[in-house]
Symmetry: C2
Subunit: 210 residues, 2 copies
């Protein structure tokens, strides 16, 4: 059976999607020259050049970049390098994404929505705040403790991060707790003073953004 | 059978611990006057007064407050108001926590460690960064999208937050992704410009803290 389309790029996203879609799609390296529809799973910087090669028959995966006349489909998740159930995960569509590619995403659980071009940067910034910045907090906190010689047993800060995410998922804003929510200025000041200067600023600014 | 000790305070923490420990402990409201060992599950501001009432036979749960001669046991999690398996979750002990209380925590999975008094503020600040500040990012990002009239389908930003936490739990620093990790300055600038001023500052500062 002819593949529905070809995924170009064997990175985390390309491999995870190819695995999920099984034999219905082809997976090819950057230098391949497939016919038919092409889904560009390549780094942002490589998209313009690849999009020119497959003009009029390609879609890219970037949630940030926008190229005139090149549609994009951005799965709002962080790929783990394996297939999984993406049920309930938004898929941001910009431009005119061909039906076979749209349907393939829907078949593995993604929920498409139209992302206007002029809101793509804000959308991406919010994704970065949700993903990379949360990771920066967890990794930064672990590093600050390690630098102070404080070794946590077991799973360290992870159970707290997990419980917090479960609380926010279930209760929304009510799932956020801590001294900033309580308006506990004495604790806020004591905590802030214990942090190095750069972290202190982020601690106070992000805490008050709420 | 005589209870091992009494939990004073019927808030989230008190109720969750009482449920986990079942009939082995008693759960009492703030105004109660129990004999024997008392575990103070009351807000930080109420601890000094309650600790004075039960001097020499009480332990408080605060991860932030330190009172001379009053031991504390801080479970490093965010209580969900129900009993669960706390396996692998650190329990920060400061001062001399009586064995029955220590053992009760160990019985439901907590892993005790000694937290020196002079590191308690840093420890708490790192817990706040891990919990309340991550919640601030998720809730703030959702608010920014809503204010821009951008409605995400399905579970919105949650699948991304969950995938990120799973990646960090499995891969550590390698689980953090995004434009700051890649050093993609064009995307960083485009994203930053799309954010309101206060968020832009946090976006750039926290992103570069890494």
């Amino acid at each position: 059976m002819e593949p529905l389309f070809t995924i170009l790029g064997r990175g985390r996203a390309g491999r995870a999607l190819a695995e999920a879609w099984g034999g219905r799609v082809a997976l090819a390296p950057h230098e391949a020259d497939p016919g038919g529809l092409v889904l560009l799973a390549v780094p942002d910087h490589a998209i313009p050049c690849q999009a020119a090669r497959f003009q009029g028959r390609c879609v890219h995966l970037s949630g940030s970049l926008h190229l005139q006349d090149v549609p994009s489909a951005h799965p709002l998740t962080s790929f783990r390098g394996r297939a999984e159930d993406w049920g309930g995960t938004p898929l941001a569509l910009t431009g005119s994404v061909p039906e076979p590619i749209r349907e393939a995403f829907v078949a593995v659980g993604f929920l498409p929505f139209e992302l206007p071009v002029d809101q793509k940067a804000l959308y991406h910034a919010c994704a970065v705040l949700t993903s990379g910045h949360a990771a920066s907090l967890w990794l930064g906190a672990a590093r600050l403790l390690a630098e102070a010689g404080l070794e946590l047993p077991g799973r360290g800060l992870l159970p707290l991060a997990e419980a917090t995410l479960a609380n926010v998922a279930r209760e929304g804003a009510r799932g956020r707790t801590g001294p900033f929510v309580r308006g506990d200025e004495a604790t806020i000041q004591r905590d802030a003073e214990a942090l190095p200067e750069a972290w202190r600023r982020v601690f106070l600014e992000l805490g008050r953004l709420g």
